[in-house]
C-alpha cells in the first residue's frame, strides 16, 4: 500500500489533496459530497479582519476551459470565522489550513495573532496575491519588499506556532526572487499559484463583463502556468515545500504538479463543476503513482527534476 501522506513544514497530512482557498467556502457546503476527514485539509476561503461584502455582480464569466472571477474576498470576518466556521470543521474532524488576507501589513499580523490561540489549525496560508483588490498596487506578492514585510509580521505574531504558507501570484516578472524573499522572512512553504489577472469583455454591452472589470482566471486553462511556476521555484529552492494549485481537475493534473515539485495539491475550480472532485482526484492520483512504481507520494515530489540517467545502449 502506497504511503500517500505528506508534510508542509511541520504540518503532517495523511492525504495529499486539499481544497483551494476560495473554492470550498468554509467546508460545510462540500460535506454532502465528500468526506472532509478523507482529504488532506480544507483550505478555507481567505478571511479578513472585518466582515466584507466583496464586489458587486456580475462576479464571474466562464471562459474556454476556465473562468474569470472577481469575488473580492466576501466573508464574515475573523471573529465570526473563529466562533462559527472553525469549530464546525474541527468537530467534523477536518484538517484545517486557514487562509488570511489583509489590506495592510498590520491587518495580516492582527489576523495571525487571533489564529495563534485557536485550536485545530494545521497551518496558515497567507494570501498576499488576491487579484481582486481595489488597488493593484496593493497586491503584496507583486512587490518583493511588501511581501517580505507581510510574512515578517505574520511570523512575529505567530511565534513559530504554526507553519506559514505564502500564496504567491504568477503575475510577476521574477517569481523565484519573490519566493526567496518570503522564505527568508520566515515562510515555511509556498502556495503556487493564485489566479492569473484577466478580463472578459461582453460584446453586447461592449464593456468589461465583470463589475470589478478585471478578475482572476482559474481552471484547466492555467494549469501549464502552475506547472511552470512550481517547476521554477522547486528548481531554485528544492527544500521548500510547495502546495501546488492551478487548474487541477484530474489525477493526471495533480501528478504533473507533484512531479514539478509540489508536496501537496489544492483543487479549486474543479470543485465548482464537480463537488466530489477532491476525493476523485485523490483516488486517481494514488492509482497513477502506484502504476509508476512509487511506494510513497514523497518519492514523486519534484521527480521531473531528476538528473538524466546515463544511456544504457
Amino acid at each position: 500500500m502506497i504511503d500517500m501522506s505528506t508534510t508542509l513544514g511541520t504540518a503532517w497530512f495523511a492525504h495529499p489533496i486539499f481544497t483551494a482557498s476560495g473554492c470550498a467556502s468554509s467546508g460545510k457546503e462540500l460535506a454532502q459530497f465528500i468526506n472532509l476527514e478523507d482529504i488532506g485539509a480544507v483550505v478555507t476561503k481567505s478571511v479578513m479582519n472585518k466582515a466584507r461584502h466583496g464586489r458587486p455582480t456580475p462576479r464571474m464569466a466562464e471562459t474556454a476551459s476556465g473562468m474569470v472571477n472577481s469575488i473580492g474576498l466576501q466573508g464574515p470576518g475573523i471573529d465570526s470565522f473563529l466562533a462559527n466556521d472553525l469549530p464546525w470543521l474541527v468537530e467534523n474532524r477536518a484538517r484545517v489550513i486557514v487562509s488570511i488576507a489583509g489590506e495592510t501589513v498590520e491587518e495580516y499580523a492582527v489576523l495571525a495573532r487571533k489564529l495563534r490561540s485557536a485550536p485545530g489549525i494545521s497551518a496558515v496560508e497567507v494570501n498576499i496575491s488576491c487579484p481582486n483588490v481595489e488597488n493593484r498596487g496593493l497586491v503584496f506578492a507583486c512587490d518583493p519588499d511588501a511581501s517580505r514585510n507581510v510574512i515578517d509580521g505574520v511570523r512575529r505574531a505567530l511565534g513559530g506556532e504554526l507553519p506559514i504558507i505564502a500564496k504567491l501570484s504568477p503575475d510577476v516578472t521574477d517569481l523565484v526572487s519573490i519566493a526567496r524573499g518570503v522564505i527568508d522572512s520566515g515562510a515555511d512553504g509556498l502556495a503556487l499559484i493564485n489566479t492569473v489577472l484577466a478580463m472578459v469583455i461582453n460584446i453586447d454591452s461592449m464593456r468589461p463583463h465583470l463589475a470589478g472589470k478585471t478578475g482572476g482566471l482559474s481552471g484547466p486553462a492555467i494549469k501549464p502556468i502552475a506547472v511552470r511556476a512550481i517547476y521554477q521555484v522547486h528548481s531554485a529552492m528544492p527544500k521548500v515545500p510547495i502546495l501546488g494549485m492551478g487548474g487541477v481537475s484530474s489525477g493526471r493534473d495533480a501528478l504533473e504538479l507533484i512531479l514539478a515539485g509540489a508536496s501537496g495539491v489544492s483543487v479549486g475550480t474543479a470543485s465548482f463543476g464537480n463537488p466530489s472532485a477532491v476525493t476523485q482526484i485523490q483516488n486517481e492520483l494514488q492509482f497513477l503513482l502506484e502504476a509508476r512504481g512509487f511506494t510513497s507520494l514523497t518519492q514523486a515530489v519534484g521527480y521531473a527534476h531528476r538528473i538524466e540517467e546515463a544511456s544504457t545502449s
Binding site: G22, C23, A24, S25, K28, E29, L30, A31, Q32, F33, K45, K50, A51, R52, H53, G54, R55, P56, T57, P58, R59, M60, E62, A64, S65, G66, M67, N69, I71, Q74, W88, N92, A211, G219, P220, S249, T269, A270, S271, F272, G273, N274, P275, S276
Partner: protein, 282 residues
C-alpha cells in the same frame, strides 16, 4: 453534518424524452428516488458539453415538475431555452443519453399550512416551476390563479396539462400576439386592493420580481420569488451568485442565490442594490 445541500445527490440520469415546445425544449430525465426530495422551487445543476468540453461549469435549471408514478420510476421535467452554448448542448441530446447532474439544490417555495388565495406569476419560461407548484397548492385546497407574461406569444410556456391545476390563467404579451396586451404586473395592484390574494409566487426575470415586490410593499401579501443570478457551482462554494438581502434586523448582506435561494422573501431582497454592494459594512 451540515444542513446545506442536505438532500443533494450527484446522479447520472438518462434523457427519457426531449421535445421542442415553441421556443423551448421539454426534457424529461429519469432521476430515480431523488424525486422524493424535490420540491417546487428547487433546481438541478447539470454538466454540459460532454467529456472533452471547454465548458467547465454546471448549468442550473429550475425543476419544472417531478413524477414518482411513471413506469420508469422517478422522472423530472425541465423546460430549457436553448440560449447559450450549454443549454443548446442539453437541448441537442438524444433520448437515452446519460448526463451528470446534482439535485435537488436550493430553497423551495413555502407551502401554506391552510388554504389561501395564491397568485402565481411567471415571466417567459420562468413559468415552468409554477405548474408543479400549482399542483401542490391545489392539493392543499388553495385557490390558484396564474398570470404569465412575455415579450411575445412564442415565449409563453403554458402546457395544456398544466392548466388543469389552476383556477384561472391569464396571459399577457407586450406585443399583444397572445392573450392581453401589456405587462403581467399591471393587474396585480388591483387584486391586492380587492383582497383577492394572500400569497404571490413569482419566477422570471429580476425586473419582474422587483416590480412585484414594489407593488406588494405596504400590503399583507407575502411575496415568494425565485431569483435569477448567474452561478458557477450551484452548491454554495463559489460566491458568484450573490444578491443583497436584508435580515430581520434590517442588516443587508450578500446572500448566495444557490443555497439561500433561489426562493427568497421578496420583501427582504434589496432590489435597488442588485448589481451593487451595500455601503455599510455588515
Amino acid at each position: 453534518m451540515s444542513a446545506i445541500n442536505k438532500f443533494a445527490e450527484q446522479i447520472r440520469p438518462i434523457v427519457v424524452s426531449n421535445k421542442r415546445v415553441g421556443q423551448y425544449h421539454q426534457i424529461i430525465l429519469n432521476v430515480g428516488d431523488v424525486v422524493t426530495n424535490c420540491r417546487p422551487g428547487n433546481f438541478i445543476a447539470i454538466n454540459v458539453g460532454g467529456e472533452s468540453t471547454r465548458m467547465i461549469l454546471r448549468r442550473a435549471f429550475a425543476i419544472s415538475r417531478v413524477s414518482t408514478s411513471g413506469v420508469l420510476g422517478g422522472t423530472m421535467e425541465l423546460i430549457v431555452a436553448p440560449h447559450g452554448q450549454g443549454s443548446r448542448w442539453l437541448c441537442s441530446l438524444q433520448e437515452g443519453a446519460e448526463i451528470d447532474a446534482i439535485t435537488p439544490l436550493g430553497s423551495a417555495f413555502g407551502i401554506p399550512t391552510s388554504p389561501v388565495n395564491a397568485l402565481l406569476v411567471g415571466g417567459g419560461y420562468g413559468s415552468a416551476p409554477l405548474f408543479g407548484l400549482a399542483e401542490v397548492l391545489k392539493s392543499r385546497g388553495c385557490r390558484v390563479d396564474m398570470y404569465l407574461g412575455a415579450s411575445t406569444g412564442s415565449k409563453i410556456y403554458a402546457p395544456m396539462e398544466g392548466k388543469r391545476a389552476v383556477n384561472t390563467l391569464r396571459i399577457y404579451t407586450e406585443d399583444g400576439s397572445m392573450g392581453e396586451i401589456g405587462r403581467v404586473t399591471a393587474p396585480i395592484a388591483q387584486l391586492i386592493a380587492e383582497g383577492a390574494v394572500d400569497v404571490i409566487y413569482s419566477c422570471g426575470p429580476m425586473g419582474m420580481l422587483s416590480a412585484i415586490s414594489s407593488i406588494v410593499k405596504g400590503s399583507d401579501v407575502v411575496h415568494q420569488c425565485a431569483v435569477e443570478e448567474s452561478m458557477a457551482c450551484g452548491v454554495g462554494i463559489c460566491m458568484t451568485c450573490v444578491i443583497p438581502v436584508a435580515d430581520e434586523f434590517g442588516v443587508t448582506t450578500m446572500k448566495r442565490s444557490c443555497i439561500d435561494g433561489p426562493v427568497m422573501d421578496g420583501s427582504l431582497v434589496q432590489w435597488n442594490l442588485v448589481g451593487k454592494i451595500p455601503e455599510v459594512t455588515p
